[in-house]
Structures are given as structure tokens and as C-alpha cells.
Amino acid sequence: MRILRVSIRSAAAVCVLLAVIQCADKPVVNPQPPGISAAAVEINGWHQEYDPEIFVGDSLFELINGGAEVYHRFGFVQALATQYADDAGRSISLEVFEMKDVEGAGSIYSDKTGGSGQPLQIGDESAGEDYYLNFRSGRFLVTITGFDSEPETTEGILLLAHAVAAQLGGVS
């Protein structure tokens, strides 16, 4: 399978271009749902360090290596990865995995959490660990990770998690 790894901006530009070509002579009635790119939210006190990357097909191996085989078997569609930083130099990583259905997302979620972690009331199910959390919202699986364990980082993780969950809650 051809490896495709593009930035959100590039992907969006291509989508817009295709939409214009396909709909040149008819009005757009139903705009596309926000999709996975909506997960790259803005949050107070943190800025995105670089454009979100989208991983489709075999490019998932660039993100998670051999584990990608299992994601594909459970219906992997695409993933988004980006990173946030605050003014003090703290960083948070955001990874969103879009699966074909809720069952696939649930299976990957269960494996990643191993049944441990603190429930956080984010999304449909969630688990917080020392420096990271996982949650599932529908067919989306989200992992947010800090690069340290400072309270400010943990606060940023939770802030980001709630914001992403709010965005993904509208995506079916």
C-alpha cells in the first residue's frame, strides 16, 4: 500500500480542491463533518508546536511501528498526531486514532489501558495514568501524553482531553 503522510493543511487543501471540482455546478448542501482534524483543538495556555500529521494506511507504522498491524486488523481508518507546548517549555503529545467502528476502537482501548487507570469521565470511557490518559469517544481512541509529571502538565492533559472529547463527540 502506498505510504501517505500529509499535513492537515495539505490534506484539507486537496479535499477542498476535489470538492470544488466535483461540485462546481451545484451548491454544497451538506458540508462534511469535521472529521479527525477537528481533534487538533486550540486550548488556553498551550500552542501547537507543529502542524498536525495525518497517518493513513501503512504510514501508521511510522507512528507506532509493529503495533500498527493490530490496528489495521481492528479497522484502522486514520490517525492524527500533534504536540502542544506551553510558555514554560512543557510539552503534551496528542494522538487520535479513528477506527471503522466502535467495536474496533473499544478493542484497542481495552488493550492499551489493560483495565487499569483512573476513570476520568471523558468520552465514553477513559483511564488516567501517571503522565498520560486514554479515552474513547465513539470510534475514536485518544491518547494524550505528557513529557513530564508536573501538575501544570497534568492540567494541560485534562484540558486538552475535555476539549478533544467535545469535538469528537460531534463526529459519528
Binding site: 509493529g66 481492528f74 488493550d111 491518547t143
Partner: protein, 316 residues
């Protein structure tokens, strides 16, 4: 909400490593000047502990004979460093990799290649990186041009696609992190060699074997382990350096997962021995990791640590 952990908790909760030799001082320059260390014969394997991954690396390589023993003046060096992921404990400490680059440069390496580049703000996480901007900039990253290699002694793997830089460089350094792996339980120097291969077809064959439809993460551990052992027949590293500073103990290889902080760096030219030693950081025994025995059977090294001379050093 209990949702946080302090560095102190990481340290007190981490694995303890025996220290039989103490070396004073905290700056790498002092190690080089340590006459008593120079008078001691080179160890077959050295494990150095302190909170400083950079200093640990300098001391560990020094204890196994110094980088000049493994890298000749004017040579090209390829470094297969595990930098593929981003989560804590899943990649090598930048201080450790920086020390490795410095040692190679000091040994007179003409050029240094990384099999894979670093991600995101990798170097920003290392305070010392700012002191070596020229060194970091001088390192080249492989173009990932693969060559097909026949593996005559391979049991499960008869052919592999391998990065040509690994095949062509004068010297090869295997620089990795000790961590959990959902398939192998442990990943270290032996498993790290897969980083020199492309996902498709080589690594995919390792992972799925003859079970492409299995829902297990790694459906055939024996096959995966044998492939890893076979792959290492392609080229043995001149030196292995294993980061056991902050390591992933669950959800490996990419994480995130639970962490331990052994605060150690291990160096050895024997890739079997370094893995046989390194499994202790995850509370494992070498016999529990099939690839170690398979690699030993291939003659790639020894899992019998009594045969190679282990030196454990705690930096003061």
C-alpha cells in the same frame, strides 16, 4: 484527584542496580583522567548508574575500552539509535545519544549516520545539546535505501531488506533502550536491529509470520524471535549501548505505559550479553526471552555473563 507522579516516586520505585565500583566526579573529563580506571583491563560489559545519561554513557564506553577501540580514525560510523517513537521510556535518552556522537567524533570518525532521524523536540529535551550544535548538525540521516540481503544461516528469515548504510559503514553502533515489548516482553540490542529494515516486507514478515489474520498483537512469538536472531547474522555491531535511564515497563514498544527509572547505561560489544544483562531492568531473566537463546545459538554472543567480565559502576 490523584493524577500525578513526582520524580522522587519514579526514582524510589525504580529497580536497584548493584554497584561494585565507584568512580568519583560528575564530569566526563574526570573519567578520562582517572588513572585507576585506565589501569584496569577493559570490561566485557559495563553498567554505569547515575541520574546523568550523558555521563553514564561516557563512563560505560570508557570501561569497555573507550570508543577508539570500536571506531577507527577517519572511518564512517552508522548508528542504529532507537528514536522511532516519542513517548517517555520508549526511545533513547538524548543525552545518551549525544554522548555517543561525541565519543565517535573524539575517536576521529569521518562521518556519522543515523539509521533514523530524531522526532519533534528530541534534542530540546537535553540540556547539553546546546553545547554541541555543530556535532548534532554534522550527523547525517540515512536515505532509507534498502538492499536485499540473503541470510544463509537464517532459520526463519532467509532474506531481508536492510538499510544500505548499515551494510556499508566501516563501523556499526547499536544504540537502544531497554523496554517492554508486547510480543517479546523485552526489546534491547537484538530487537533494535529491526530498525534498519523497512516495514514492508521485512518487518511485516517478522510481526505476522504465517498468521496475518490473528487478532493477537504478535501472533507468533517464536517466529518473531527467530527472525530477529536471524537478522542479526547480517552484521554484528562493533559496540552496543543500552539506555536504561527511564524505561517503559508496560505497553511497549511505543507506549505510553508505566515507567521505571534504573538510571543506568550499559555498554558491550556483545549484543547477546547486553540483552542478557539488560532484562533485569524489567525484572526478567534471560531465559524468559527466546531471542537471547536463539542469538546465542547463532554464535552472536554469550548469555553467560560470567564469561565476559561485567563491571558495575556507580558514579559519585
Amino acid at each position: 484527584m490523584k493524577y500525578g507522579i513526582t520524580r522522587r516516586r519514579f526514582i524510589t520505585g525504580s529497580a536497584a542496580v548493584g554497584a561494585t565500583v565507584s568512580v568519583g566526579g560528575g564530569l566526563f573529563g574526570e573519567f578520562a583522567a582517572d588513572a585507576s580506571a585506565k589501569e584496569t583491563a577493559a570490561a566485557g560489559l559495563a553498567a554505569v548508574t547515575s541520574p546523568d545519561g550523558f555521563a553514564n554513557t561516557i563512563a560505560a564506553v570508557d570501561a569497555v575500552g573507550g570508543m577508539a577501540r570500536f571506531v577507527s580514525k577517519g572511518s564512517s560510523v552508522v548508528i542504529n539509535a532507537n528514536t522511532a517513537f516519542k513517548h517517555r521510556g520508549s526511545i533513547v535518552d538524548p543525552g545518551m545519544l549525544l554522548a555517543t556522537l561525541k565519543l565517535c567524533a573524539d575517536a576521529g570518525a569521518r562521518e556519522m549516520w543515523l539509521i533514523k532521524g530524531t522526532k519533534d523536540n528530541f534534542w530540546e529535551r537535553c540540556d547539553r545539546a546546546a553545547d554541541f550544535p555543530g556535532l548534532i548538525d554534522s550527523v547525517k540521516v540515512s536515505e532509507r535505501e534498502m538492499k536485499v540481503v540473503e541470510i544463509a544461516g537464517g532459520v526463519a528469515l532467509k532474506q531481508a531488506h536492510v538499510d544500505r548504510r548499515l551494510l556499508e559503514a566501516d563501523h556499526y553502533l547499536d544504540v537502544t533502550v531497554a523496554k517492554h515489548h508486547k510480543g517479546c516482553e523485552f526489546t534491547g540490542a537484538l530487537k533494535n536491529t529491526m530498525g534498519a529494515c523497512p516495514h514492508d516486507p521485512t518487518c511485516r514478515f517478522f510481526h505476522v509470520g504465517n498468521n496475518p489474520d490473528s487478532e493477537d498483537w504478535y501472533p507468533d512469538l517464536n517466529h518473531l524471535s527467530q527472525c530477529v536472531a536471524d537478522l542479526n547474522l547480517v552484521r554484528r555491531p562493533d559496540l552496543c549501548i543500552l539506555d536504561a535511564g527511564e524505561i517503559l515497563t508496560t505497553n511497549g514498544p511505543f507506549g505510553p505505559g508505566k515507567l521505571a527509572n534504573p538510571q543506568a547505561v550499559v555498554a558491550s560489544a556483545d549484543m547477546v550479553a547486553i540483552d542478557a544483562y539488560g532484562v533485569r531492568y524489567l525484572g526478567l531473566e534471560p531465559a524468559a526471552i527466546p531471542v537471547i537463546a536463539m542469538a546465542e545459538k547463532h554464535g552472536l554472543g554469550t548469555a553467560d555473563l560470567t564469561k565476559i567480565g561485567v563491571r558495575e559502576i556507580a558514579l559519585g
